[in-house]
């Protein structure tokens, strides 16, 4: 019972923090709300019985990728002027379209959950790291390989962009 309430609490935090990400006028604050949202999601994963995914969520997303985001935004030297401009952009007209679309999606999702047959699973089963690894490198090996190709492409691209050009080529 308490696990259920914890789950709903952290899910609510995740949703509220995500809303604040898009409504924050200061970019660094927005990123921090994203970090909060990711941490709340990690707790959701844990409560759903996936501690390994929860830990990786913090280590990879909250601890590394978001730090890089903050790092990049810190260089922009955000001033009050930027905050004011951001406030101008966030007018209510800009909200209408996305809100309607998101509500439609939500309605579909609720309908889908209503129609779907009730799940027989009532207890959460803890999935150990070993099981995750065995699944990743067993049935999903191809997906892992494709993802690694994607990352490699990104790495090569980054290297190309950061490479010093020879003198005569400039």
């Amino acid at each position: 019972m308490i696990i259920q309430w914890l789950f709903y609490a952290s899910a609510t935090i995740a949703v509220v923090a995500s809303l604040l990400v898009i409504t924050s006028k200061n970019a660094v604050h927005a990123i921090l709300y994203l970090v909060v949202s990711l941490l709340a999601l990690s707790l959701c994963f844990y409560l759903l019985g996936a501690p390994f995914a929860a830990a990786l969520q913090i280590i990879v997303y909250a601890g590394a990728i978001m730090v890089l985001f903050v790092f990049a935004v810190m260089l922009f030297n955000i001033s009050d002027e930027d905050v004011r401009r951001e406030a101008q952009w966030l007018s209510w007209q800009a909200w209408v379209g996305p809100t309607v679309l998101a509500l439609l999606l939500l309605a579909q999702w609720v309908l889908f959950i209503q129609l779907a047959p009730a799940s027989a699973m009532t207890e959460t089963i803890m999935v150990e790291a070993r099981a995750v690894g065995a699944t990743l490198f067993g049935p999903y090996l191809l997906a892992v390989e494709i993802a690694s190709f994607l990352l490699l492409a990104g790495l090569v691209g980054g290297f190309h962009l950061a490479k010093k050009l020879p003198e005569d080529n400039q």
Partner: protein, 317 residues
């Protein structure tokens, strides 16, 4: 429903950690004095042991100033994040067989997650101070931490392969025959280097290098908030020493003496080693630090991981 014993343990741990961190400041200053042929603090109490208490009283009475140009909520939050993230990690440290607050089966990952969150303290302090020195310090901290975090994780995977578990008590038990410092010597050295960089201690204290950045990320901090950063740093040293003891030096294992004593002895030895490093090594340049990390330590950690995995796979020990 509440486990009273657990609550008692947590209270006891927190209430011993904080004074120990303060005592560590005194120990460091005394040892530095000893190695540099001077006295160090020796006036307050016997051997100056109450020096930290005097410092604490002084720092509590200082004006707790928030600069008007700072981002106030973040400025207040940053030192708390830094200190809390480090303190959270102590939850998984197994001090002795009967003394573990949480023996989680993802204990090692929890430690890595908390150390990766600790960087936000420094990063946000640097940014929210709205001061160029602080910002430079914060950026250095970010680049340094990301770089060294990567192969800290990779260097620990060798241990995980040998022990076959992320659970810290299993890792200690797996060292019954041979401490992992011998088969995983490369991993041990890389972990120690990464640990110093993570807790941004000398010689890797570039985020706060006072000769070039005044105070780095904590330039604008004073009073109790500054003390929190200080506390976080010393707790960080303790944490890294405890983790190195657990992962490589056999944790609580050892003959004759009770397990807890062994654990604390090994930890103390490592802490003294960290202080000796501070006393003897100069600070590298910023680009040297990053180049050394990415170009040498990361490939070395990967090779170590591959070799360990290959040996394990072919059925060696």
């Amino acid at each position: 429903m509440w486990d009273m014993e657990l609550l008692l343990k947590i209270t006891l741990l927190v209430s011993t950690l904080l004074p120990t961190a303060a005592l560590l400041v005194w120990l460091e200053r005394r040892l530095l004095g000893f190695w540099q042929e001077r006295c160090g603090p020796n006036r307050v109490g016997p051997f100056g042991i109450l020096q930290s208490l005097a410092d604490l009283i002084k720092i509590l009475f200082k004006h707790d100033w928030i600069p008007p140009f700072a981002d106030k909520p973040l400025f207040v939050l940053a030192p708390l994040i830094g200190a809390l993230a480090v303190m959270m990690s102590f939850v998984v440290v197994p001090l002795s067989p009967g003394w573990m607050i949480s023996d989680s089966h993802i204990g090692l990952l929890f430690f890595l997650a908390m150390t990766s969150l600790a960087v936000y303290g420094v990063l946000l302090a640097g940014w929210s101070s709205n001061n160029k020195y602080a910002l430079l310090g914060g950026m250095r901290a970010a680049a340094q931490t990301i770089c060294y975090e990567v192969f800290m994780g990779v260097s620990l995977l060798g241990v995980v392969i040998l022990a076959g578990s992320f659970r810290l008590s299993d890792i200690v038990q797996a060292q019954q025959g041979l401490w992992f410092v011998i088969p995983q010597f490369v991993g041990f050295v890389i972990f120690i280097i990464a640990g110093i960089a993570e807790s941004h201690r000398l010689p890797f204290d570039l985020p706060e290098a006072e000769t070039e950045l005044t105070g780095g990320f904590h330039t604008e901090y004073s009073g109790i908030k500054f003390a929190l950063f200080f506390l976080g740093e010393y707790l960080g040293i303790m944490l890294i020493s405890m983790m190195a003891t657990t992962l490589f030096l056999g944790g609580w294992l050892g003959p004759w003496l009770p397990p807890l004593v062994w654990f604390l002895l090994k930890t103390l030895l490592l802490i003294c080693f960290f202080i000796l490093l501070r006393a003897s090594l100069p600070r590298p340049r910023y680009d040297q630090l990053l180049a050394f990390g990415w170009k040498w330590l990361l490939p070395l950690a990967l090779v170590n991981l591959l070799v360990t995995a290959a040996i394990k796979l072919t059925g060696g020990t």
